[in-house]
Structures are given as C-alpha cells and as structure tokens.
Symmetry: C2
C-alpha cells in the first residue's frame, strides 16, 4: 500500500495511465465498502448507501448493479412506506460465498464453514495433528474440508478460501508457523503453500487468539463493539485477541496479544519462550497441573495421571474447584491472580474497555477466574480512577477461533477495505497517507 | 458515533429528514478527507483527488470551491505538462489556521504554535506550575499564549484551539487530570473548562507520550509511517506513545501506553501507582538517582545533591556514563536493562515494528540505552524468529510533545476523520458499522 502510494506520487506527472489505475483501485474500494455496509445492516436501500458513503447515487447504482450481477447481493423487498416512494432493499446473498475456518492443534482439528454473512453453516471435529508428518496431515485436512462441504451441501466453487488459526509465533505474511506447536516439526513448514497446493483453495494463516476474538464478536451479537477489548484465549497456552472498534488488531506480523509471555518476574522460573517468569509459567493449565502434582495426596484424591496429558488433569482440577474443593480452589485462584497481573499490564498498555475470557481453559471455572480478575483490575489498573474495565466470560464453543478464521478470509477476499492490516487503517483509505507521506 | 449509528438505523424509515442529516455528515467527512489529502501531498490536482477518493469530479470541485472560499486551501500553480492539459495544483494555506500546544509540568511549561500544515511557527518556554494554585497558573497560561501569538505575529482569530499534553492518568473526555502530576492539587481540577473560560479557546487534553509520538513523527519527516511503532518518552516518568499506521492510538480514555507501570516483579518495590515492581521503580530517573545515592563516595564524586531534585542529579549520572565512567555506566545499564524488559512486554502485546527513544531522559545517554535495549529485544521478544524490532533514538527537542498536542487539536478541528478515536477507526467511516452493528 505505502509502496503503491509512493509510486502514485512519483507517477502523477505521467497522467492518464496512472489515473486509470487509481480509478480501478478506487472502484474496488467502493465495491468493498458497499458490500460491507449491506452485510452490517442486513437490509439497506440504495439511497441510504449513498447517504452513508458520500458517493453519488449513480456510483451506488452502477456498483450495486455489478454486485447483483455477480450474485453477491439480492433485492429483498421494500422499505415501509412513509408517505414517499417505497425503496427497494438490498441484502447479502448468504449462499453466494463461503469461508472455511480451521484450528490446527495437536489433539484436535476443528473445521467450520461460514456463509457470506459470517454465519455458521456447520462444523466438524477431527483427530489432531498428533505426531504425524505435516505432509500427511495436510492431505487429510484437504480431504476433510472436501467431505465437510459435501455433507453440508455447500458448493465447493462458492468457497473463497481456508483460514487457518494457529498458536503463535507465526509468520502470517509467509504463511509459516514459527513455534513449537502443534509439534516442532511444523515450525518452518510451508503450511500455507502446501495446503493451497493440495486443497486448491487460497489459504490464510492467523493467530488463534485473534481469530477467537473475531469469532466471539460475530457470534455473540452483543451490538456495538467496544472501543478496545481483549479476548483472553486459554487452551494449552494463554493468548489474547485484541479488537479495536470491532476490528482485529494484528500488529506488524499477526503476532500481537501474547499475554502468556508477559513477564511477571524477571527472576522467575524459565518459560518455553526463552524468558523467565512469564504469565504462562504461573497461570497456564500445565503450570496448575504441575503445582497440583507436587501434592501426592491430591494426585491420588483427584486421580491425576501424568500420562493423560495436562488438559484432562487440568479439567479435573477446575471442575473440583468449581464444586468448592478448597485445595483446587486455591490452585485455580493462584492461576487467576497471576493471569490477572498480566491483564493489568495489558490494560496499562492498551487502555482496555472490556476483557472477555474465552477458550476451553475457562469452560469449567470461568466464574472463579472472572471474579478474581475483576477484583485485581478494579484495584490495580493505572487508569482505575478514570474508568473501570469490565471482565466477562464469553459464552462460546470451541468453534470460535475456527469461525473467526473463516470470517477473516471472507473479509480478506470480499471486503478487503474492512480488514485491519496493522490496526489503525483499513487497507485502502486515502487517510493512510497521513503525516509521514 | 455508535449512538448516532443506532439512531440512523432506527430512523431510516422516517425518510428524508434523516437522509438530510446523513448527507450533512457525509459532506463534512468529504471535506475532512480532501483537506487531509491536500495537506499530506503538499500539492495535488482536483483530478488526482477524485481518483484517490473515488468521489466524482463534481463533488471534488464543489468541496474545493468551498474550502478555497474559507481560505483553507490555495491554488498554487500548475502541474508539468505531459502532452495533455496542465492541471491547477492545490496546496494548504499554511497561515489559514494555527494550533497552540502546551506541555504542563512542575518545572517548565513549553508552548508551541503550529501552522495549518503542522509546521512549527515558534515556541516559548516558561516557568512550570510549581506549587502555585491551578487557578493562578491557568490565568498565566492564557496570558502566555496571548503574548506568544503576539510575538509571532499570529492572528489570534486563526487559532483553532489549545492542545494540552500531560502525564497520565487523565480523563480526556472530561478534560481533567487524575494523577499526582504536576502536583496532587491538579488531580480532579477542571483544567479544560477553566482554560477554555479564561483563554476563550477550545482546549483538548491528551497524554504527553502520545503527543510526543505524534510530534516526533511530524517533525522527523521519515517518510512512510511504520505499521506499529512506540515512542518511549522518558522525562520524570516513563510512558510511550503508540502509533498505528501513523495515527495515534489513544485507547479507551487516552491512557494507553503506560510503559512505566508494566510490572516486572510482583514482589518488587512499591511504586507510586499502587503496584509493585513497575518498570519505573528500576529504570526511571528517580530510581537511578536513588541507587546512586546509596554510594557516598559516588555522591561526593559527582556532587549529587538531594535538594536539587532528581532531574539534574540524573543528568550528571548519564553525562558521566556517556563519558565512560564505569560506575555511572553500570547504573545506566541497570536502568536500560529493566526498561528493555518492559519494552519486550510491549512488543509481545503490540507486535511492534520499531521503537523510538525520546524525551529529556535519553538526551545524554540515548546511545547506551539504545544498544542495551536492542540487544534485549533481539534476544527476547516472542516474535524474534519472525522479524526484528528496530530501536532508534529520536532526534527531537523538548517541544515534541507540545507540537504533537498542537497538531492533534488542528486535526481534531479540521480533519476530524483522520483522528483515531480509539485506534481502529477514523471517526466517521462507514466501516465502523463493522461486525457488531
């Protein structure tokens, strides 16, 4: 974008050729904006589109004609009469396009299909990657996508692409994972390229917590988005998705929101990220299980089993905490207090308005976490004298991140101007020329 | 804005009256966008404006006619001929409007005047607030603004308002400080209202680090802004301004970027914010002076004097560190390492692209800080395998925050669509309807 701008500035002198290019880009943006407005409103008339965008009614008419011809939008009836002429209303053709979302995980793969309005069409849960070679997992993924589309009777031609949600660090631009999940073998593996080759679809890779935050927003239908909110996503690790006025904040390389790797103690225990005293080494499920495992009587009483993997052991601990078991309550509270300290730092940097707790880590003991975190934020954020920060448990299933990934690829393909690149800007707005241009 | 949107949705049925309102808002946005494009480009033709905005040439013509009539824009010559017709170029009328910026501080008040293009016209440094009652300081401020405008021969009628930069926490919406600086007496004092009453100008209150980041960007002329950058501002405290695609990120209440209050050790020394082990208690100027003061021989050798206030004592320490004094170097390195750990957390949350060090705290030993911080970021950010984060000393004077405050009030008054409310959105864009609408 910025390169394109510089190009424009340099080439303006050369006249009409460049202006033709600019006009084409501008028409694309107009189309993107109009599609987004129709989607967001459900039903809207051409006159209202003109008023909202500042574009002339003739520009609106020709653009709408084009997107109706493409089958993206339908005329869905008339506005109520208020004395004047009744207006034809436009609505999104839900079935026109679909997006597939997929969360990649060692123990479980979750697939969803979303329609053009971002609504869930159906989902599939399958075996995780395990320790199988990525090449073989990719082949299975492509085949599972195909059979899900067939089962849901979704036309494969209507699918714009596959959004893959993964824990970070990842290189969103190169489409490559850079961390140790689901297995170290995936680090550096050309996930996007291979899945594109095998599936035939366009693929985009994004942070699971960011996808979770987007999915949570789309499914919660809470109404107006908050100015700045964070959706804390706890599964194996702890991340968070940051939403600004309802749009996903990605940071420079889609690695924003690494809440689990906020340092709480410079001299604390070592963390897998190479740092010390990170939130995750106190608050993460594995840390909670490790603390519990030091007490043999507790291990016996809860029937904790190191061979079972820490997820199900963690689930036992939080279930018992929710039932009032004092020892388990102490373990969960210890985790919640440390997570809360990380969220205080998040607030002090982002001046958050609201925090949502989401992901399987909160499914049993969300209420305990929520209370402890709310207390800590009320007592300790830097801006507590100015405004409170509300903590809520987000009521979502395991499909949230996958649904977010599906909606992000739909946005990227069809309403590109609405996708937040870093965060401040929609991709093609002229105001990006900003101060430095 | 969101309220306004809901209003629109509810009232659409009532037809033309509402559409007239929408049209008025849309005309305002068009005007704001065109002004911003002309400012950013220096010189630009109507045809290019049409191509860049997607608006029709007739909309551009009528809007440009209006802003020329208002004296905001001038016709400044013709484009070079490339065979076709030469085009009239438009440029901002620098003298048409001015903004005053002011940093409020216990020891020093800095005033600047910026022209409509955001360029520095002149500045004034005056005595700080000291412990004088706010009412009396406000009267002096209004009079100093008046005399600065007179000295610079700036027409008072051309001034759109006064931007005040202050350390947080503050309530930007209410125009009230909420912290202990410059003195606790200012906390809760109706600064904005009083200064508006006494000066007769509109006043806006903003975070000093955010203003510093904006001022740094405007004066550095680095070219294209980075996707996500932070300008660390060290004076008495340590804050940072966050820029996203060149726009200021404010958070919910203009309190984003409190880097100094990132917790590095849950069990660390108490901090003035009520927390423990904050970055400031290890890295801030007062902390460096306190560590130095424990060594009597050093106090004597550097002639440190507790009665002098920590600013000048800190200046002695960093000057000696820069000259290679080993003990001072150790003190500064200790500060830099802890600051670096806070910046690592900042990177892990925001996925930063670049960090600038600015403010008086870095004026003598910026190079030492920069080296230590760069090493730490290279070794410890969560996304280090994906991309590096560059650290640079920002070459700016003490006027940066004041200039930023002046440009922010100019933007707010004249190109409101370009001001980032929280961060994701420009104030009046239809895409804000987004997912939740």
């Amino acid at each position: 974008m910025l390169q394109a701008q510089r190009l424009q500035t340099d080439q303006w002198k050369s006249g009409t050729r460049v202006n033709a290019q600019l006009r084409a880009r501008s028409a694309e943006r107009t189309r993107s904006m109009i599609l987004d407005l129709i989607r967001a409103h459900g039903r809207i008339s051409r006159v209202e589109l003109a008023a909202l965008t500042g574009l002339t009614e003739s520009t609106i008419s020709s653009t709408v004609r084009e997107i109706i011809a493409d089958g993206l939008v339908l005329e869905t009836g008339f506005s109520e009469s208020t004395g004047g002429k009744r207006r034809t209303l436009l609505g999104i053709n839900h079935a026109a396009r679909h997006g597939v979302g997929l969360t990649i995980d060692h123990e479980r793969l979750t697939y969803v299909v979303a329609d053009f309005a971002g609504e869930l069409v159906g989902s599939l849960t399958a075996e995780g990657t395990g320790d199988v070679h990525p090449d073989n997992v990719i082949v299975r993924m492509a085949s599972e996508v195909k059979s899900l589309l067939r089962d849901l009777q979704v036309d494969p031609v209507s699918v714009v692409g596959i959004g893959v949600a993964s824990p970070g660090p990842l290189d969103g631009r190169a489409g490559v994972l850079r961390g140790r999940q689901p297995t170290p073998e995936w680090s550096g593996y050309p996930l996007r390229g291979r899945l594109e080759d095998v599936s035939g679809y366009r693929v985009a890779l994004d942070n699971d917590a960011t996808c979770g935050a987007v999915g949570e927003l789309w499914t919660s239908r809470r109404g107006a988005p908050r100015p700045v909110s964070a959706t804390v996503y706890m599964a194996d690790g702890i991340g968070c998705g940051i939403l600004i006025d309802g749009g996903a904040f990605h940071g420079t390389s889609a690695n924003a929101g690494e809440l689990g790797h906020i340092c709480l103690d410079l001299n604390g225990p070592k963390c897998s990220c190479g740092g010390r005293g990170c939130v995750e080494v106190y608050a993460g499920p594995a840390a909670v299980v490790a603390r519990a495992s030091k007490d043999r009587a507790l291990v016996k009483r809860l029937d904790l089993d190191p061979d079972r993997g820490h997820r199900s052991n963690f689930a036992r601990i939080v279930k018992n905490a929710a039932r009032g078991d004092e020892q388990c309550l102490e373990l969960v509270t210890f985790s919640a207090r440390h997570l809360a300290r990380g969220i205080v730092t998040l607030c002090n940097i982002l001046d958050l308005d609201e925090v949502f707790l989401s992901g399987p880590g909160f499914s049993e003991a969300g209420a305990i976490y929520s209370l402890v975190i709310q207390d800590e934020l009320d007592a300790a954020t830097f801006m507590r004298s100015v405004h409170p920060v509300r903590v809520d448990v987000a009521n979502i299933g395991s499909e949230a991140a996958a649904l977010g990934a599906a909606t992000l690829i739909l946005q990227q393909e069809l309403t590109p101007h609405s996708v937040l690149r870093s965060a401040g800007s929609r991709v093609t707005l002229p105001t990006q020329l900003g101060a430095g241009a």
